[in-house]
Subunit: 354 residues, 2 copies
């Protein structure tokens, strides 16, 4: 049975990327050695790291004056590194859910934190708009896509203070105007690679400005100066990232990824809106193209477990919602083929006919 993997992350990767990673694990380029056994100082690894960083710059059209880092750890590490590196006195955070809240919590250890707006009043089912940003904030932090609640900022916002974004779950899913950001970061395990790796795109002029003594491993400047080789990076995840970045480029780049994401989201939200048995938890323009959240409609709540099992029997993996949000979540990152969402929509149709 053909399976479609809707995991929220670690999540589906293009099959060619999976195969290339497996091949590199067995024997890298006919060297008679596993990629896992190569030194991070070897010329072979250096080529992989350099091409990966350079493809990130190319795919996102990163302007001059920015550094691209590939580091160990995930977004939770950067929840701590961002204030360590950028917070002098006051930081502004937009609270759009679990991950935004976690990021905000870490910042409170480093200075004053202002919550500019929150959608907690409606269970984070929308992205707040028209909020005031303190002009004296060192930065404004946003979470571009909220995996748990299924909301997404579909455009790069204008900010009077330096903008920092956690793009863990929608990086490489659309063109980004990097020039609007001081720092973009995220974990790799959705649209970039396997888990254990994180990416950072940081404005060079924003580094080294706090006057704070920063532990080396947490200092973006240290990593930038060392070309992402200050310490041993997660070497195999970097290789998976390279193969995935090449795949995105071959497929037509991030504009094509966005076109596909919109089509996939359209198929699913249309069926959810049409089908009386289901209800989307997010309305309108804030709906995420990456994580499509829905619940059983009023009157059908007791069928939740039945539908979950029905979908699983058809090879639709991991559509159960996050343990906090409940209901269902179809995570549709770049690697999800259009047939995957068609299969899920068909499954919802068939279920309601039963």
């Amino acid at each position: 049975m053909k399976k479609y993997n809707f995991n929220a992350g670690p999540s589906m990767l293009p099959h060619g990327v999976v195969e290339a990673t497996a091949a590199a694990v067995l024997d890298y380029n006919g060297m008679g050695l596993s990629f896992m056994e190569l030194s991070h100082r070897s010329p072979e690894f250096k080529l992989v790291l350099d091409e990966a960083r350079s493809l990130i710059k190319e795919l996102l059209d990163v302007p001059g004056g920015y550094e691209v880092l590939l580091l160990g750890g995930g977004a939770s590490m950067h929840f701590c590194m961002v204030p360590y590196n950028f917070l002098v006195r006051k930081a502004a955070y937009l609270n759009t859910g679990v991950w935004a809240s976690k990021a905000m919590k870490e910042a409170t250890l480093f200075g004053e934190v202002v919550e500019v707006a929150s959608s907690a009043d409606k269970n984070f089912s929308y992205i707040p708009k028209n909020f005031d940003i303190p002009a004296d904030a060192d930065y404004l932090h946003v979470t571009s896509n909220n995996t748990v609640y299924g909301t997404q900022l579909h455009a790069d916002i204008d900010s009077p203070v330096p903008l920092v974004a956690d793009m863990s779950s929608d990086i490489f899913s659309r063109p980004v105007d990097v020039s609007k950001y001081a720092c973009i970061y995220g974990g790799a395990q959705k649209n970039l690679a396997q888990s254990g790796l994180s990416f950072v795109i940081v404005k060079e002029s924003a580094l080294g400005m706090t006057g704070r003594a920063i532990p080396s491993i947490l200092d973006y400047k240290v990593h930038a100066e060392a070309g992402s080789l200050f310490n041993t990076p997660p070497t195999l995840p970097v290789y998976t990232a390279l193969r995935n970045l090449r795949w995105i480029k071959e497929q037509g780049g991030v504009a094509e990824m966005e076109r596909r994401a919109r089509l996939r989201a359209d198929v699913l939200y249309s069926e959810i809106d049409r089908n009386p048995m289901f209800r989307a938890t997010v309305e309108g323009d804030d709906r995420s193209f990456m994580n499509i959240d829905f619940v059983m409609a009023s009157g059908y709540e007791e069928l939740e477990q039945t539908f979950a099992e029905y979908a699983a029997e058809r090879g639709l993996v991991a559509i159960k919602g996050h343990r906090i949000a409940g209901g269902f979540r179809a995570s549709c990152y770049n690697a999800m083929p259009h047939e995957g969402v068609e299969a899920l929509a068909e499954c919802m149709k068939d279920f309601s006919k039963r």
Copy 2:
């Protein structure tokens, strides 16, 4: 040509571990999904993580009252986490080389740091003995094996203050009396797994004692309470670790690993001591069984590059010394077969006959 990989880390892994990792990347247990695509909250991953942590306890005979953590990042992360979690006022560090110095440098951000002894006077070619440990130090930090200079602490020392050890490069190579330590940590990329992962064995009663506000991601207590799932761990490296831990157990455990390491080291040091063309950089009991450092003997210095090429032509990979120490370094971790060191000793013999 059969190759022997003497890389210092990331380094050689048992071939079965490499094959098992590649198979899991392609399709994990016939699920039709790559291990890289599984959620870290899935029952499949949970089983892998639990078995890996439990094998670490079993292999090292970890007493009750200790937590075993498998986290992202490497030893450099713990150079920062150790003082964050344990340094209140004063810490003592034994300076045995590059990694010890780096660990010590990070600690200076958190309190007073006392260097109890240093072997810098003789280019770190020995382990200092009979040093005084301040009775009021929060901990004494040692580096059990020094990959760059090729020295090793072959026994667990007695310390009047809590003992913390970086065992990145010799963990699982000998039995350890864990009860003597408050914390043992290290990067995984030598004797445990591929890069991107680190391990921590920490005494529960030593946690949460500083009164300092610690960022969540750097707080051992947070990771312990979350069972190493506070954030997304590097899932595939954890799987590689599990397969390698199973391999160590099947081979006879850490006592057998030590027996083999001593035999391998004996073959190489004997040839280095016998062969007039070569000279060991470390003498006596402090010689590392993991990283065997040597140089061309006096009068033969100009043959260094020639020997490096001669060895490479015979399939002996990466015997060049660390860029700081120069000369040669044969890293012989658990996965190095005895034939590997015999091939290198033979190569030295043949070279000197030419």
